[in-house]
Structures are given as structure tokens and as C-alpha cells.
């Protein structure tokens, strides 16, 4: 049949499985001499790759401007896209394929304007002009569509292509499918399309009668009757629409169609009239129209031009769905894929698939469930007057029968089946994707050569180039291209230094190519990847870690999504431990953000919110813990304390500030009997260190905790919490009243309990420096007043300060005086018992020092000075 006078104009709906099937039927029947497809002509040379074994849809044709990687357009193709089907058919039959749309050279140059429409052709549009035009069109369309009934065809269009800037085009365009659907009395264009086109094919094949509306041949639509009929019906409907709406307010369509006509003419000259054109149905009337070459050329004159490159990139079903960025505009790619792939009984097969998925997820689903679900879906379709159960019916049936009324399985099914996780593949021979080029360019401009040999790199983030390098490395890591691994910074701990270990392995190039689906520039791709990762993370700490990485990689655009996920996770996470774990990373991020000049205000808010939740949740979470739980919780307590300090730096001390509230929480913990001793002791210590508790109060609380009624193990825990850690020893060294309490308690521990508390105490004291331990030992040996009484007094006796050993070792104290005088710049001769006493008290360094802690501050620091 190649001898037809007219080219076959196959108007399709992009990504419509019904259209795809109809296109295949027509091609098989008429065997055209060439196939022309709506798409950028620059891609002609790439068609052959579609036959490559390694090529697996969904994939997308990508046109980009190498000099400006942000400027790019995608033409996604799924397995069930009519364009893809046509291309594969042509390759299998050795028929040439030509892309006929406006060259990407022009469309990318026009780009910003509205360009995109690349695909949009489909949606033709009637501009704002008119309401009445709309109603007129509706009538006509009603005739055209309804009568014709439902044209079984393919068609409409939705636009194909994803335009690079889809949002913009959304405004003034009218979706021809919507108009036709409305004319046919449907409120949902998708449903109309499904009923009239997608289901029809199945209905014809499987269930006679279900497609009763279509005259073009139920039962035999694809075999007996002319497979072209549906396309003709649809073309008629579109013609009616275009008469009413004109070009739809989109001048770009005129230009594109002029180009299509020119290419069509060329093809007819080359291959004869027997060529087939696969394009959005919206364009069919324009292609059928007779115009002069000159007029078409005129339209194409003076278009701006850029130099694009074209390649194939892998695509995913998720990105085909309209929820995501470049969406090609179908909400249920998985369902369409199913319709296209299922040889028969689509609903039965779908329900079986659903049941399989649910069983994997441990829902009890029997065959009887599946049977009932299919019955309900079919009955619903009848009730709603649809020819065949569609996605909506299937969804309702699944909810009522398989899900027992719950939405959880429905959400799962939507995610895994209706949208689906299919990931396309592209052969290695496809030209490099822009992301790779962008990486190369960044490497060059940052003078950072990819080398196979491992090397270390130290960066000073205050320098522009180094900051840029750091950003690049961080972004690549996010993208799964681990060129550099952060190394421990050797010397400096400053936040403006970073060390990396670099090594470029050949496989990283492959990884970079794979990452190409995320975007065309490193920044855009990393942003998209980070957003997607955020949504996919499972634990709160992962999200905070991600937030930190986003800041390091300077991806402010990804932050809102990450933050949203973070707040959601934080709100729903009932485990205070998780919250407390997440807090430090977040606070660190806030600080880094400051250092690097990123706007971290939003982050600060989130961190504050997180801290609030920790405050609320901590007290109840601290009760009823066993030893291990208490130990974990102590770490959380410390981490939170530290984080709150950093977070609230600006507003320190402000009443009602974070620190203030945190102190309130600690106080509550310190005094609550049901909280393990370890945590109570810790809380007291933290408060004491912050000066929010006077030593007298601390002493009172310690006395309480160590009093006779407390089980020894509990008291030992208290001591560990209070005096644990390095600085804890110094605290005891310098506040002998506290030491006396510990000492007194220890002496009173009954012999049989002593072996129980010994390991605890050992753990506590083993952490101290040897010097501290020795000092403590000496203090105890000398014997605090009122303690065991074995202490031997040495040196001059003086009136003991309550709780302290008797007397001061004047000889030893005198030894430091010269140095001290030197340090303080005191004149010679100012010594004497009085002065010496004062000085000794102030420095607190003398072995027998009487640092009685009247200033209550930070014993640790004080000692540091003296040492």
C-alpha cells in the first residue's frame, strides 16, 4: 500500500498506549516508505541507537547547548510511546526515520519565550480569547467526537514533549483532549481518553461489546477494519477544534508546523508519497493543509539559532509522571505501560500484579480477594457507564476489597505500580551528556585535574578557587561520583579548612553519565538528586546529614525540600534519641552555613524546632531506663547540651531563650526521682558547669543522691554521671566538699554492695588523667575532715574549712610563690601568710590548695590557667 497518494498522518497522544498500538497497526498494514516523527531533526543521526540492545526505554532525547548547559530540552519516550513504537518499527523494517519538528537549534534559542512547547504542540491552545469560541468549539467537537463516537483513536494530544519550561506554557493553552472530553460529557480528560482510546483497543480484543460505542469496528478494530479509521476520526475532531481555536494562541506552533510541512515535502520528494507522519494530533490539521513553500519558508526566516548537541539519556517512569519536574504529562506511566504490555484481560492482570505486590509487603491477599476486586471494578465501571474498568475503578476496588478500607496499600500501589520505578538505559555509545561536559569544564576552570593516582588536597575555604573546588567535590559526592573522599583534617580544626583524598577511577565517568538523568549541570543535578534523596531517606539522622551536605555543596535550592522532609520526619519521630542524634549535625550545619555565607536562617529555625521537641520529649523518655539505655541517653544529653549552646549563642541568657528552657529541662531531670542516677548526676553537672546551679545546690543534690536510702548502684551511677569524664576529676580535686561527700558515701557502702559498685566507680575514675587520679588519691589519703579518720595531717595545722582536710602545706605552697609573683607582676616582699593564702586560693594550684569554690565557676578552666 505504499502507493497512497497522501502521506499517512497519524495524530497521536504522546505516551498513549492506545495510540502506540494503533500506530503499530497502521505501520504494519501500510508499510510506509519512511517514518517522520515529531522531534528535533538534529536527532536523525541518533535514531540508529534506538535499535541498540543496550537501549531500554524510558529514555529521552536530550538537546542541549554545550556552552550553556542550563539550556536544554527533553523529549522523553516510554516503551508505550507511539513515537518509540514507530521508531522501533522503522528500524526493524529498515525504513528511514526523520524527525520533523523545528530544529532544536531554533527552539532552544527561542527557548525562554515559551518555548517549549515542544511538545506542547499538543495542547493547542486557544488563548484567552474566548469563551464563546470555546462553547462553539464544544458543540462542534461534540459532533466530531461524540458522534464519531468516540473516536477510537488516538490522539489527542497531550503534548509530547516536555518542554523545558513547562510551567510557563501552561497558562494560555487549552488541552484539546479536555475540550473533546467535555464535549463528550466527561469532567476528567484522562478518563475520557482512557474510555475512548486506551480501553477501546482492549475492549475490542477481549470483551466484545465493551467498546460498543465505537463504530470503527469493535471486535476487529485492529485487524479487520482499516486501522487508519481512528486516526481519521481524530483528525476530524482536531480540525473542528482548530477551526474554533485557531492556532491556539501559540505562534510557535505555526512555525513548528511550517517546518514540519517543509520536512514532509522533502520526504515526499525523496521517498514518494507513501510516508507516515507520527505527531501530536493537534498538528494533523496543519500538516494536511495546503500551503506554499514560500509561505512556510517565510515563517521560518530569521529565527535565532544556537548550536545544540543531541543525545539519548536514560529516563524514569517517575519523571514521566506529571508530578515531577520535566513531566511529560502523564500521571500513571506504570498503568499505561501495563495496558500496553498486557496481551489481554488488563484488569485481571492488573489485580494480579497488585496482589503480588501486596503479598510482598505482607498483606494477606488471597485469590478470592483478587476475584472480588475484579468483580467490583467491573461492576463499578458499569455503574459509572464506562466501557471498561479504568484506573479509578481499579483503585476503588483495591481499597474496598484488598485494602479493607485503608489507604496505605493504595498509596503503595500508586507509588510502585501506577507510577513505577522503571529506569531506562542508554548504550555507552550515546554521545556524552551535558553533565559530563559540565564536570569537565568545572575541572578545568578550577584547575583540578582528574588523575588516577591518589593524592591529598588541602583547601582553604576562604579562597575563591578552593571554595569552588570544595563545592564541586561535595556536589559530585552527592551525585554518587565519589571522586574525592573527605579526609580527616590534619592539624587545624578550623571550619575553613578541608582535606580531600582525590582519585579519579575510570568507572567514575560511567557514574557521571548515569547521573545525567538528574540534570544538565553539576549544580542542577546535585540539587535534584539531593531533593530526591531527601524524600527517600528513612531516618531523621540521614536527613540532617543530607542537609549538612547540601550546605557544604552550596545547594540552597535543595534546602527547602530537605528542610520540609526534615521537619516532617522530626515531627513524626517519636524517639527522642533520634531527635537528639539529629540535632548536632543540624546545628553544625547552621554554623557552617554562617561560615560559608549561605543563608542558613531557615535551617536555624528548623534546628530550634527540633530542640523544642527534644525538650518536650526528654523528661518522659528518661524514666524507666536500664543501664545501657541510660548510658545512651547520657550521650544524647551531652550532645543536646552542646548543640543548644551553639545554637543559642546569639541570644545567650535571654529569658525564654533556648538555653533558659534547656536549663529548665535539666533541672527537672536533676530532681526527678524516677530518672536514673546517671542522668540526674549528669544534669546537675551540666547545670553546675553553666553556673546555673550554685555549688551549694549541687552539694545538696549530691547529698540527696548519695544518702543512705539510695541503692549503692544508683548512687554510683549518679557519681558517674556527675563526675564522669576528664573534667569531672578536676572538679572533685578542687571542690573538696564534693569529694568529701563521695568519700563519705563510699566508706559507708556495705561490704556486700561494694563489689557491685566497684566496676561503676572504676569506670568513672579510670577516665581521669593519671595526674588527676594521683591528686585525688593524695587528697583522700590526707583525709577530708570527718571522713574515715585515717588521714594523717601534715604541715602546719590550721582551722579547717568545713569539709576540707585540715591545714595547709605551707612549705609546698611557698614553692610556687616566686613564679606566681612573677606572673602577676607583684613586687618582691609582698609575701606573708595572708598574701600567700590569698594567692594560693586564687590559683588553686597548690597541692593542699583550699579552692573552696566560692566563686563556683568552672574549676576546669581555673586550673588550666594555673597550670
Amino acid at each position: 500500500m505504499t502507493g497512497r497518494e497522501q502521506p499517512l498522518l497519524l495524530g497521536v497522544r504522546h505516551h498513549g498506549p492506545g495510540s502506540a498500538r494503533a500506530v503499530r497497526a497502521v505501520l504494519e498494514r501500510y508499510e510506509p516508505a519512511a517514518v517522520l516523527i515529531e522531534g528535533p531533526p538534529e536527532a536523525d543521526a541518533l535514531v540508529a541507537l534506538a535499535a541498540d540492545e543496550a537501549m531500554r526505554p524510558p529514555v529521552a532525547l536530550l538537546a542541549h547547548v554545550p556552552a550553556d548547559p542550563g539550556r536544554a530540552a527533553f523529549w522523553p519516550l516510554a516503551e508505550f510511546s507511539p513515537e518509540w513504537v514507530a521508531m522501533r518499527w522503522a528500524l526493524a523494517h529498515d525504513v528511514p526515520v526523520r524527525f520533523i519538528d523545528l530544529p532544536a537549534a531554533h527552539s532552544l534559542a527561542l527557548g525562554e519565550g515559551e518555548g517549549e512547547d515542544e511538545g506542547n504542540g499538543g495542547e493547542g491552545a486557544a488563548g484567552a480569547d474566548g469563551r464563546d469560541a470555546a462553547s462553539r468549539a464544544r458543540e462542534e467537537a461534540a459532533e466530531a467526537a461524540a458522534d464519531r463516537t468516540a473516536a477510537p483513536d488516538p490522539d489527542p494530544h497531550r503534548d509530547p514533549d516536555p518542554a523545558p519550561t513547562p510551567d510557563r506554557t501552561a497558562e494560555a493553552r487549552i488541552d484539546p483532549v479536555a475540550v473533546l472530553a467535555e464535549a463528550a460529557g466527561y469532567d476528567d480528560p484522562e478518563r475520557w481518553w482512557e474510555d475512548v482510546i486506551e480501553h477501546r483497543a482492549h475492549g475490542d480484543r477481549q470483551r466484545s461489546g465493551s467498546g460498543g460505542e465505537n463504530e470503527s469496528g469493535s471486535g476487529s478494530g485492529l485487524r479487520g477494519a482499516d486501522p487508519l479509521a481512528p486516526f481519521e476520526a481524530l483528525a476530524e475532531a482536531m480540525t473542528a477544534l482548530r477551526e474554533a481555536y485557531g492556532v491556539g494562541g501559540h505562534d510557535r506552533d505555526l512555525v513548528r508546523e511550517a517546518h514540519m510541512r517543509l520536512r514532509l515535502r522533502d520526504a515526499r520528494r525523496e521517498f514518494g508519497d507513501g510516508v507516515a507522519v507520527v505527531c501530536g494530533a493537534w498538528h494533523v490539521p496543519a500538516l494536511a493543509r495546503r500551503t506554499t513553500v514560500t509561505a512556510d519558508r517565510q515563517l521560518l526566516k530569521g529565527l535565532p539559532k544556537v548550536k545544540p548537541e543531541v543525545t539519548w539519556v536514560p529516563w524514569t517512569h517517575r519523571r514521566l509522571s506529571r508530578h515531577s519536574g520535566y513531566g511529560a504529562g502523564i500521571s500513571s506511566p506504570g498503568w499505561y505501560g501495563h495496558l500496553f504490555g498486557a496481551p489481554d484481560r488488563p484488569i485481571e492482570r492488573w489485580m494480579t500484579k497488585v496482589a503480588g505486590l501486596l503479598r510482598e509487603e505482607d498483606y494477606a491477599v488471597s485469590s478470592a480477594h483478587v476475584i472480588e476486586a475484579v468483580r467490583l471494578a467491573d461492576a463499578l465501571a458499569v455503574m459509572r457507564g464506562r466501557p471498561l474498568a479504568g484506573l479509578a475503578e481499579a483503585g476503588d476496588a483495591v481499597r474496598a476489597v484488598l485494602g479493607e478500607g485503608s489507604d496505605a496499600p493504595s498509596a503503595l500501589i500508586h507509588d510502585r505500580l501506577v507510577v513505577g520505578d522503571v529506569l531506562g538505559e542508554v548504550p555507552e555509545s550515546a554521545p556524552a551528556v551535558p553533565l559530563q561536559r559540565d564536570i569537565t569544564r568545572s575541572q578545568r576552570s578550577l584547575r583540578l585535574k582528574p588523575e588516577a593516582a591518589e593524592r591529598e588536597l588541602d583547601l582553604d575555604l576562604r579562597k575563591e578557587t578552593d571554595a569552588g573546588r570544595s563545592r564541586l567535590l561535595h556536589r559530585l559526592r552527592l551525585l554518587g561520583v565519589p571522586w574525592g573522599e573527605p579526609a580527616r583534617t590534619r592539624a587545624s580544626t578550623g571550619t575553613f579548612r578541608e582535606s580531600w583524598r582525590l582519585r579519579w577511577e575510570p568507572e567514575l565517568s560511567v557514574r557521571a553519565a548515569e547521573a545525567g538523568i538528574w540534570g544538565t549541570t553539576v549544580e542542577a543535578a546535585a540539587t535534584a538528586k539531593a531533593e530526591s534523596d531527601a524524600v527517600g531517606t528513612s531516618t531523621l539522622a540521614d536527613v540532617t546529614g543530607l542537609a549538612e551536605r547540601c550546605l557544604l555543596a552550596a545547594l540552597p535550592d535543595a534546602l527547602p525540600v530537605v528542610m520540609r522532609v526534615l521537619t516532617d520526619r522530626a515531627a513524626l519521630d517519636a524517639d527522642v534519641g533520634h531527635l537528639a542524634q539529629a540535632l548536632p549535625a543540624l546545628v553544625r550545619s547552621v554554623r557552617y552555613g554562617d561560615v560559608r555565607g549561605t543563608d542558613a536562617a531557615a535551617l536555624g529555625e528548623v534546628a530550634t524546632g527540633l530542640a523544642e521537641r527534644v525538650f518536650v520529649g526528654l523528661p518522659p523518655a528518661c524514666t524507666g531506663l536500664d543501664a545501657d539505655g541510660a548510658a545512651d541517653m547520657r550521650n544524647h544529653l551531652d550532645a543536646t547540651h552542646h548543640a543548644v549552646g551553639l545554637l543559642d549563642e546569639g541570644s545567650a541568657g535571654r529569658p525564654g531563650g533556648l538555653r533558659e528552657r534547656w536549663a529548665g529541662v535539666l533541672r527537672k531531670l536533676a530532681e526527678r526521682e524516677t530518672v536514673p542516677g546517671l542522668l540526674r548526676g549528669r544534669a546537675v553537672r551540666l547545670l553546675l558547669d553553666d553556673g546555673r546551679l550554685t555549688p551549694e545546690d549541687a552539694e545538696r543534690l549530691m547529698g540527696l543522691a548519695l544518702s543512705a536510702g539510695t541503692p549503692p548502684a544508683e548512687a554510683a551511677g549518679w557519681i558517674e554521671g556527675f563526675a564522669g569524664g576528664d573534667a569531672g576529676g578536676l572538679l572533685l580535686v578542687h571542690d573538696e566538699r564534693l569529694l568529701a561527700l563521695v568519700d563519705g558515701w563510699l566508706a559507708d557502702v556495705p561490704a556486700d554492695a561494694f563489689t557491685d559498685v566497684l566496676p561503676l566507680l572504676r569506670r568513672t575514675f579510670a577516665e581521669y588523667d593519671a595526674g588527676v587520679r594521683r591528686s585525688l588519691g593524695e587528697l583522700v589519703r590526707r583525709g577530708p575532715a570527718g571522713a574515715t579518720g585515717t588521714a594523717t595531717a601534715r604541715g602546719d595545722q590550721e582551722a579547717a574549712i568545713p569539709g576540707f582536710g585540715p591545714g595547709l602545706d605551707r612549705d609546698r605552697a611557698a614553692a610556687v610563690l616566686p613564679t606566681l609573683r612573677l606572673l602577676l607582676g607583684l613586687p618582691e616582699g609582698m609575701d606573708g601568710a595572708r598574701d600567700m593564702n590569698r594567692a594560693g586560693g586564687g590559683a588553686g594550684a597548690a597541692g593542699s590548695g583550699n579552692g573552696n569554690g566560692t566563686d563556683g565557676g568552672r574549676p576546669g578552666e581555673r586550673t588550666g590557667v594555673a597550670g
Binding site: A364, S366, A368, H369, E372, R375, L376, A379, L380, M383, R384, A392, D396, A397, R399, A400, V401, G403, E404, G405, S406, T567, D568, A571, L572, A574, G609, E612, R613, F615, V616, G617, P620
Partner: protein
């Protein structure tokens, strides 16, 4: 959802003159509409159905018939739900209506039965004490003793009558019925037969028989359905009011009705407070703030519309008898606290988080925050 019936209607003889009774059955109250629908309905009807499935859905959802008859909406809510429910009955699967109290389960079930079978009185009220006889059959002991076992001595249950006549039976509060009694339904629903071993007979369901059960899915201490029984049902969950406006409206209306019977003064000035209560309930229930920006933990209580009504009524009583007559934050705070904190440990954390992260920062809610802090102290 404009109709919010939380009470259970009492099954009666149905013979009374509907004008005299306090609350006529659905089929009597809406007899006109049913008649008009039947007249206009030209679609195929399943056997023994008074209306086609399409007309049943129209009856519930409302609409205008070709002859101009206006059908009032009985249920305001998603169309999808009603369609699934009606279709389920048409496929002779039993229907289980799930939902928290106050979502019009009973109301929907009554109207479905009225529209499908023209009789909503074949009702079994589920309680912890519902015996097997209520679902199968009992005996008239005088007859039994005098004449021995016979069909005359047998007292059929509503379910048995529905089976014999091909009607729609209703079971209210299915999950309150003891598990062993529930399971009597399995044979009825799967074999569509009810054996009477004493007589060596059975009652077989004729076409048109079906069963609508209602159950509360947030209640504690109920008898979960066995999975064998559960499998016989298609489940439809009736949602809570979709928008705050709807819910505020329902709450205000009910509060006013209840208030009148308690001789409480109307509380026009209290609308803000009602809105606040509804907002708090909705936010905690949905786990997200109304502006959609902050997620929240949900407490274990149901926080249904019915509870919001009781919180407001309580507050109103407090304000009237112990306050200055104006409904204020303090009057509702304690009630809210009681409704939210059902589990003293977990719910308290949820509530405090909500207070600190949401309420504290919200404009114009200072007084409410303070009142809640005081109530919770």
C-alpha cells in the same frame, strides 16, 4: 456530611403512622423521593431491588430528576464512596461501613437499605450482649413446649427474614458483637444459607439479599473481625468532614441543638472558640497544621467531630454556670486536654509538642496557649 447522626436508630415495627412518630424511618420520610426516582429510573435493576444502582446513588447524593423532582442529598461526601458502596451491594458482596463515631455510618446504612429494599428495619443492633439468636433465630417457647419444634415455633431474626425475602439486612456496631456470635455471619455470607439443625431444614437466601454492617474503627475494646469474616465484606471507610468550614458548621449546629435542650444560652460570641476547637482537633487528627507546613504527631484518641461537639457543649455549660456566660479559651481548654490525652504518657508528649511548636507561635492564640498551659499544669 451535612447529616450527622451519631445515635443508633431503633428498629421498630415500621407499621406506625410516620407522622406520629418522633423519627420516621428513611423509607417513610423520603417516600416521595423514592417514588419519583423509581418512576424516572429506566436502568436495569438487580433482582428485588426497588431502584437501579444508579438511582440508589442519586438518592443518597442528591440531584434533580428529568421531571424536575429535587432529590435532597442524604450524604454529603465523596461520590466515589457512595458508588463503591452501592456497587458492592449490587455484586452481592456484603458491605462494611467503617468510620469513627459521627461519620454518618448508621445514616448511610439506613438510607441504602431504604433505597435498595424499601425497608430499613431489618436491623440487628450489635452490643457486647448480642446473642446468636439475634442473628440466626430464636424459639417461641410456649409453642415449642406445646407442639414441639416446628417452623411455627421458630422466631426468625432480621437476618433470616432478609434472606427469605431477598431484602437488605443491617447489622449495627458489628465489632461490639462477641467474636463467636460474629462468626455466625460467615455461613450466611459465604453459603448464603442458614441451617436450622433442630428441624433438619435450612433457609436459603434468595436473590436480592444482602447485608450492611457498620463498625467503629477507632474504638478500643472491640472484637476485631476474624479474617474469615472480614473477607466476606467490601470495606468502605466514611471519612471525617473534608473541610474545616463543614466541620465548624456541623459542630455549631449540633451544639446549638444540644444547648437548647439543656437550656444553655446560644453562644454567638463563641464561634471563634468553636473554630479553635475544630482547628485543634483537625490538626491533631490529620497530623498536619491547617496551613500544611508543619507535621504533627497524632494522639491516640479519635478526636472525632462528635467529641468536638461535646467539648464545646461542656465549655458552654462551664461558661454559663461558673463563668460570665461567654465561651472563653479557659472553658474549652480542660475539655480539649481530656479529649486529646487518652494515654497519659504518649499523648501528653504529643499535646505538649503541639502546644510548644504550634500554638505558642500562632497569632491571636496567646490566651488559648496560656489557658492550656494552666489546664495542663
Amino acid at each position: 456530611m451535612s447529616e450527622n447522626h451519631t445515635g443508633d436508630s431503633v428498629g421498630g415495627t415500621g407499621a406506625d403512622d410516620s407522622a406520629q412518630v418522633l423519627r420516621p424511618h428513611a423509607e417513610d420520610a423520603f417516600a416521595q423521593e423514592l417514588k419519583a426516582l423509581a418512576a424516572a429510573d429506566d436502568r436495569p435493576r438487580p433482582e428485588r431491588w426497588r431502584l437501579s444502582p444508579w438511582a440508589v446513588a442519586t438518592y443518597l447524593l442528591g440531584g434533580t430528576l428529568p421531571d424536575g423532582t429535587l432529590i435532597t442529598p442524604k450524604y454529603v461526601g465523596p461520590r466515589r464512596i457512595v458508588e463503591v458502596a452501592v456497587t458492592t451491594l449490587a455484586t452481592d458482596r456484603a458491605l462494611l461501613l467503617l468510620g469513627v463515631p459521627g461519620t454518618a455510618k448508621t445514616w448511610v446504612s439506613e438510607h441504602l437499605a431504604a433505597a435498595v429494599s424499601g425497608d430499613s428495619t431489618l436491623l440487628v443492633q450489635g452490643t457486647a450482649g448480642t446473642p446468636e439468636e439475634a442473628i440466626r433465630y430464636g424459639w417461641n417457647y410456649a409453642q415449642l413446649l406445646a407442639h414441639g419444634p416446628s417452623r411455627d415455633a421458630l422466631v426468625p431474626s432480621p437476618v433470616m427474614r432478609a434472606m427469605a425475602q431477598g431484602m437488605t439486612a443491617r447489622v449495627e456496631e458489628l465489632t461490639r458483637i462477641p467474636a463467636d456470635v460474629q462468626d455466625t455471619l460467615i455461613t450466611v455470607l459465604s453459603e448464603k444459607t442458614l441451617p436450622i439443625p433442630e428441624l433438619g431444614q435450612e433457609v436459603q437466601a434468595v436473590r436480592g439479599f444482602n447485608l450492611i454492617a457498620t463498625a467503629n474503627d477507632r474504638d478500643r475494646g472491640v472484637n476485631e473481625l476474624s479474617s474469615a469474616l472480614r473477607r466476606r465484606f467490601n470495606t468502605v471507610v466514611l471519612p471525617l468532614p473534608a473541610t474545616p468550614e463543614e466541620e465548624v458548621d456541623i459542630v455549631s449546629r449540633r451544639v446549638e441543638q444540644i444547648g437548647r435542650s439543656l437550656d444553655l444560652p446560644p453562644a454567638p460570641a463563641g464561634t471563634d472558640e468553636i473554630r479553635r476547637v475544630v482547628t485543634v482537633f483537625r490538626e491533631l487528627r490529620d497530623g498536619v497544621t491547617t496551613d500544611g507546613r508543619t507535621k504533627l504527631k497524632s494522639p491516640s484518641g479519635t478526636l472525632s467531630t462528635a467529641e468536638a461537639i461535646s467539648v464545646v457543649t461542656n465549655g458552654l455549660a462551664l461558661a454559663t454556670h461558673f463563668g460570665d456566660g461567654v465561651l472563653r479559651s479557659g472553658d474549652v481548654a480542660a475539655g480539649i486536654l481530656g479529649a486529646v490525652i487518652r494515654d497519659p504518657a504518649a499523648d501528653r508528649v504529643v499535646w505538649q509538642e503541639y502546644l510548644e511548636t504550634v500554638v505558642r507561635e500562632r497569632d491571636g492564640w496567646k490566651d488559648f496557649y496560656r489557658a492550656c498551659r494552666e489546664a495542663g499544669a
